[in-house]
């Protein structure tokens, strides 16, 4: 995207009917490190890549427990993500207190989306620069939602956001039809495989990724490093498994963003409409 005269304010439309500030916010999500989510009928698994800035520093926390039955993985401006997680936790706990019942995920997601929409229509605010993968369990089963900075939300069988997420999405697209009936352990295995896709050439270790699970009879919790490493070892999710075609597909996907920069900013579908 090029800089242009319609992108200073979130309350300024471009002649092509786009809100550039919102689109820039979604760019921020694409630059963040990868997060993926997938679900079956009874379980949801969230996983993300956790790279520390240097060997001396600790990792950014990107997966948050919102309630026993809801968890969220974020990509983008983690500070914005923390604020939204705090909001979600507060909504859940207030509902629990009044109704002694867990807040249905679908309703939380709508409230979150409305909160994001407000920031796209006030001149003194800016859109949240974070994408949220919300996984939760309610009466109608397990659900996975994606909340955009634009205020849109969609329900998914499986999804990936953040940098190099296209590689993970390709993997998930191949496998997603079987997810509904998958066992909990198969879901975790598939999540780690998808994470591996986003690591270009790097070895998958439990120290650079985080995995969280929730499901029927299993409150949301983050798996500890040992358990994750065991799953990795058990399925030998290592670099050697990547076939040549997968690496070529990943390389081809990286070309797409650079092609965007060459094209004039106002052409093409606005990302938030997809």
């Amino acid at each position: 995207m090029f800089r242009n005269q319609y992108d200073t304010d979130v309350t300024t439309w471009s002649p092509a009917g786009r809100l550039f500030q919102v689109e820039y916010a979604m760019e921020a999500v694409k630059q963040g490190s990868a997060a993926i989510g997938l679900r079956s009928k009874t379980h949801v698994v969230l996983a993300c890549v956790n790279k520390a800035n240097s060997e001396l520093s600790s990792h950014q926390k990107k997966i948050f427990k919102v309630d026993d039955h809801i968890g969220v993985a974020i990509a983008g401006l983690t500070a914005d993500g923390r604020v939204l997680s705090r909001y979600m936790r507060s909504e859940c706990i207030n509902y629990s207190f009044t109704y002694e019942s867990p807040l249905p995920v679908g309703r939380l997601v709508v409230q979150l989306a409305d909160k994001a929409q407000v920031c796209t229509q006030r001149s003194w605010k800016r859109p949240f620069g974070v994408g949220l993968l919300v996984g939760g369990l309610d009466e109608s089963g397990a659900h996975l939602y994606y909340n955009c900075p634009s205020g849109n939300y969609f329900e998914y069988q499986a999804f990936a956001i953040g940098s190099r997420s296209q590689a993970a999405k390709t993997y998930l697209e191949r496998k997603f039809e079987s997810f509904m009936g998958s066992s909990r352990d198969d879901l975790i295995k598939d999540a780690l495989f998808a994470i591996k896709e986003t690591l270009q050439g790097e070895k998958l270790k439990s120290s650079i990724c985080t995995v969280a699970v929730l499901g029927v009879g299993e409150p949301f919790h983050i798996l500890d490093q040992e358990t994750v490493q065991q799953v990795i070892n058990a399925h030998e999710i290592v670099e050697e498994e990547a076939s040549a075609e997968q690496e070529a597909a990943a390389a081809a996907d990286q070309d797409a963003p650079s092609a965007d920069e060459a094209a004039p900013a106002d052409q093409g579908i606005a990302p938030m409409d997809i």
């Binding site: 207190f97 109704y99 002694e100 309610d138």
Partner: protein, 221 residues
Amino acid sequence: YPYVTGTSVVGVKYKDGILMASDMGASYGSTLRYKSVERMKPIGKHSLLGASGEISDFQEILRYLDELILYDNMWDDGNSLGPKEVHSYLTRVMYNRRNKFNPLWNSLVLGGVKNGKKYLGTVSMIGVHFEDNHVATGFGNHLARPILREEWREDLSYEDGVKLLEKCMRVLLYRDRSAVNKIQIAKITEEGVSISKPYSLRTFWEFNAFRNPTVGAEGSW
């Protein structure tokens, strides 16, 4: 302070759901002023609320619940508030008013069935709340609950449940000054709520004790 009041409500769990009974009287102090007041109302798809105490406060509570159910339906998302949620909500409302020294002068009985699970609970005007297999308000606490403690069992049939409730209501009719002989029995199951048409109980006033009430009492002849 309450002005127009309803008397006891009695509720029991039975095989298919909940049965609740109340009379149709509303007293104005010691006058039995109104005799066709429905003190039990369905709430949403899954619940039934019965109230004793100030009738205008009951009507206010029905308005609150109406709004609550409306917003719940507006979500249009396949989730709906069950009896447990309504009961917790009412508890919060009653307790909150009590803390402001402006209580809703009611004792409520909330029953319902959702996804096969039966729920029967009660909330008082000071926010005391609990759930049980059989509950009662007002005079029912003193006269009906001992009967229920003895005679309630798991998985009562509909006929047995109604007989049990009628027994309680009959005792209340004999002994509670604010009871009237026009009762309704409400049933709630997974399929929904139905409140019976009003009917009266058969009473027997020819007991010896009734014919000559003061025989044996101190200072009487």
